[in-house]
Symmetry: C2
């Protein structure tokens, strides 16, 4: 590896947890620096200029270079490992699930968790309140799609865990904090357990 790895994160963020989990599964040492989203610590002029002009965590620092976007950081860490399938189609299919996660899952499942468990329902703007039912429906559709795909198979792509599983796991296993009921999706709890049983697994809080 060579270069030091530093994760700039907020510990409540599932997007940050993905990177910690990937590093743990691969046995890579990762230094952690904490920022509070709720206090605007990722929107300071210094953060925007140096770490991420997009004002978001996580950012993975590799030596003196900065890599935003959680799924890109996981791909950097997992380069050349068994968490990325060797087969060309499977590798693209892993990316398919990672893009699905950021487009169809995270904006619904993670956003409702943030709104309901972190911000608090009473603090939501009218616009946010108006979006809750749409995000509920979108989140349930994403979970139903995952559930259907997992019926009869252990992992999202191929015969072993890949980054597709890691990145989808992060917000799925705490979806109840956004008001989702995982018992509606019969194939998901077993898959969650399989991820939790991977060697070197680390929990989100710890």
């Amino acid at each position: 590896m060579g270069e030091a790895l530093i994760l700039h994160e907020d510990p409540i963020s599932g997007n940050c947890y993905k990177i910690r989990l990937t590093a743990a599964l691969l046995g890579l040492p990762l230094e952690r620096r904490s920022y509070c989203i709720m206090q605007g610590e990722t929107r300071t002029p210094e953060f925007l200029a140096k770490m991420n002009a997009n004002g978001r965590i996580p950012v993975l620092q590799v030596g003196d270079r900065f890599l935003p976007e959680s799924n890109a950081a996981c791909a950097y860490l997992a380069h050349g490992s068994a968490l990325i399938p060797a087969d060309r189609f499977d590798r693209a299919d892993m990316l398919h699930w990672m893009f699905f996660e950021q487009y169809s899952h995270e904006p619904n499942v993670a956003t409702l968790r943030f709104w309901l468990s972190v911000v608090g329902e009473a603090q939501l703007s009218d616009l946010q309140r108006g979006l809750v039912s749409q995000k509920r429906e979108g989140g349930r559709a994403a979970l139903a799609l995952m559930d259907a795909h997992l019926a009869g198979r252990d992992w999202f792509v191929g015969a072993q865990a890949s980054l597709a599983d890691i990145v989808l796991f992060a917000y799925t296993h705490v979806a109840d904090e956004g008001g989702f009921r995982l018992d509606e999706f019969p194939a998901i709890p077993g898959w969650i357990e399989r991820v939790q049983n991977l060697a070197n697994y680390v929990p989100m809080r710890g």
Copy 2:
């Protein structure tokens, strides 16, 4: 390559165009099959069962396998080509911009184009109408971030065009159809021209 490549697409979609542009730049033959989003042709039981349970185009068919998510399809096609940087950090940085495109750019810039130029402002729901200003702001922030990054450099990652440029180009070069003014972003028009001058470039409509 070996297996036949078929793009299941709606020609108005920038996400589909990304794949056609990637194939063209690489000289890969791509058969095209057309579906109309506006007529619900990607939500039929047959489409959901066979092509993409998520009910979205594009889907890249590789032989008898189906690959949803535009950016994953581009990555499949570009595997082993110069459109994917050889350097490990640069490759992850390319993915960073591709995830940025799907998370921070497309839901704003492409959605406003769809709402204003395809659906029509008069047909928007109250919820959609309420989101226009937030999406306008989000889209302008995404374009401003691209503009700042491009100041003093020709391409998003490294010294030549990569998939980061291709996928960001698709909706950026038609952002005016969503009511965005590209002349507010001085570094973007020159970059658009550089993409259009790539060997084997194909336009969105054609």
